[in-house]
């Protein structure tokens, strides 16, 4: 168990290092001087030099990389070129919208997909199965941002049950915040739920064909009992992989959905920064997104070990 975890931890650290190098060098190949861009044409050379020093642009690239990484490790993401405020504060503020949205959507998608997938697998080849599979086929095909527009049209503009966009902030109360995130979360979750339900169904059907399920049936377990007690846990292994991958889709999808609902999340921050060439913000936000994705996949690896005794051989 410890061996397995240490192995995963080592690969996690390597992934983070390589990812940060990739992001840094991609951003670094951009031509142009952010300081010159900020001050505009006709800036005095000495003001330019002062700003360059302030932004940390006056040192060599390896040194700048090390400063960036060590800063991030201490929670210091640098200073925004345009707003002149700490990037960490800006990100933290936006994170409180994007991360709850992605998590909310993940929970919704799992809550929809598990029962649907289990139901379809247990009714394999019957009407219920075809209905769930048909719906999921449709769900997979719907672009989430278009689905979001339809939801706005139906529930915000026509029925007036939800606001059509904007976020009042968590200080107005937890439920007010959740209410504002509900339509975005549903539009994010449904297409993912459709994919997850399909994976759940096929993983379960694979497991139902395994010998140990036949053993369980020969013990006297009913089909439903065999499915619940034996097939389900084994099917969770491939399903977990997909949930891990989906989190990164949800986080990225949140960026798109934020645009539909005018949510002040990471997505808007990134687009604003791209248009104002505020590269330090882009750099750090992307790194943060990648960090979260890698951490989630690490969590999935730990979950594997909790489910599968073959991975925790040495206790």
């Amino acid at each position: 168990m410890i061996r397995y975890l240490l192995g995963r931890l080592a690969s996690l650290i390597i992934s983070l290092i390589v990812a940060s190098l990739v992001i840094f060098f991609v951003i670094e190949i951009i031509p142009g001087d952010p300081a010159a861009y900020m001050l505009g044409v006709g800036a005095q050379p000495d003001t330019l030099a002062a700003l360059r020093a302030e932004l940390g642009l006056d040192v060599s690239k390896p040194e700048r990389y090390l400063r960036w990484v060590s800063g991030m490790l201490q929670g210091d993401f640098g200073i925004s070129y345009t707003y002149r405020s700490p990037v960490s504060e800006m990100i933290l503020e936006r994170m409180w919208v994007s991360l709850p949205l992605a998590l909310y959507a993940l929970i919704l998608s799992t809550l929809i997909a598990f029962p649907a997938g289990i139901y379809a697998a247990s009714r394999r080849g019957k009407t219920g199965d075809f209905a769930v599979m048909g719906l999921s086929q449709l769900g997979v095909a719907i672009p989430n941002f278009w689905f979001a527009m339809l939801l706005v049209l139906a529930f915000a503009i026509n029925l007036r049950l939800f606001a059509s966009g904007g976020f009042p902030g968590w200080d107005k109360g937890f439920w007010v915040g959740m209410h504002a995130l509900t339509l975005p979360a549903i539009s994010l979750a449904l297409p993912q739920a459709a994919i997850l339900a399909r994976i759940m169904r096929s993983a379960l059907i694979d497991m139902l064909g395994e010998d140990f399920v036949r053993t369980a049936r020969a013990k006297g377990l009913s089909r439903a009992q065999a499915l619940r007690r034996h097939a389900l846990r084994n099917a969770l292994i491939p399903v977990l992989t997909i949930i891990g991958l989906q989190f990164s889709f949800l986080l990225a999808g949140a960026i798109v959905i934020e645009k539909v609902f005018y949510l002040p999340g990471l997505g808007r921050l990134i687009f604003q920064s791209i248009s104002s060439r505020d590269l330090i913000v882009v750099e750090s936000t992307v790194m943060l997104l990648v960090f979260v994705v890698i951490m989630v996949n690490f969590a999935v690896d730990i979950a594997y070990a909790a489910i599968d005794p073959r991975l925790r051989r040495r206790r």
């Binding site: 997979v140 941002f145 527009m149 991958l245 798109v256 997104l289 990648v290």
Partner: protein, 273 residues
């Protein structure tokens, strides 16, 4: 051998979209460069089957032109994914357990940590938005998909006795991969290719929607939806037509993929006799 229903339905839908895109290269019902402001936001009619948008352009014509963009971007992205991913996967399988295998698989994991949208953001930050940007972003994300698929399938083949026989016949692992492994995983690649193609259509739409994909005046379904967003309560058809087109296209491609899988799966083939 009976073709599965999904193959026929999916094939017909995909065929229609493909034909529309090809047709738009030479002809569209209306010239979209001419902005007929008098007609703007007209709902569907006999003259304009799917209505007119806020600039007075015929929506059907726009959709046909948008199909070009969608298909070109998604197809090229799948091409990038297969061309780079499949050889990498085959190489990893041929060197299973070795350093090359380990590096390729770790590299795959790393790319999976960058969702295609994040790659697109990075590329946009460097080169600015555009259709090429979308192709690269979706294509890079496709590489590990095909690499993993090829490696997994190739690994099971490497354990088969006919590969042993080929090795006993003195063939190199490159030659074995080319002669024995590749033909036997081609079916899988084709099926996955259709699925990634449909995902590519969705991703292209999303990237264009948020302004990281194709830029005007290039027509694009995602772009049309972005323009329609503020008008959705005023003229719903402006948002419905592109959305439904995307749904139908993706649905058709997925059905085609499912149908191909059923048709090409040797286990099912044996059962059908």
């Amino acid at each position: 051998m009976k073709a599965p229903t999904s193959l026929i339905v999916g094939g017909v839908i995909s065929g229609v979209v493909l034909t529309a895109a090809a047709c738009s290269l030479v002809w569209t019902p209306y010239d979209v460069k001419l902005l007929d402001v008098a007609q703007k936001l007209r709902p569907p009619s006999l003259a304009h089957w799917l209505g007119v948008d806020h600039f007075g352009r015929d929506i059907l014509s726009m959709l046909m032109l948008g199909a070009q963009t969608s298909i070109a971007v998604a197809l090229l992205a799948v091409g990038v994914g297969v061309a780079a991913g499949a050889p990498l996967g085959l190489w990893a399988a041929a060197r299973r357990g070795g350093v090359a295998d380990e590096l390729i698989m770790r590299g795959n994991d790393l790319v999976f940590a960058f969702p295609s949208l994040v790659i697109a953001i990075l590329i946009t930050a460097v080169f600015g938005p555009g259709a090429i940007n979308a192709i690269i972003a979706i294509g890079i994300f496709n590489i590990p998909v095909f690499a993993r698929l090829s490696r997994g399938a190739a690994l099971t083949l490497w354990r088969r006795d006919f590969i042993l026989a080929a090795r006993v016949a003195g063939k190199s692992s490159f030659r074995i991969s080319w002669e024995h492994i590749l033909p036997n995983i081609l079916n899988l690649l084709i099926v996955q290719g259709t699925i990634q193609f449909s995902l590519g259509v969705l991703a292209e739409a999303a990237l264009s929607y948020i302004g990281l994909g194709a830029q005007p005046p290039t027509a694009s379904w995602g772009r049309m939806l972005a323009d329609a967003q503020t008008l959705v309560s005023l003229a719903p058809h402006v948002a419905l037509a592109p959305g439904l087109t995307i749904v139908l296209t993706v649905l058709g491609l997925n059905l085609l993929g499912d149908g191909l899988r059923d048709l090409l799966d040797p286990r099912l083939k044996a059962a059908r006799g």
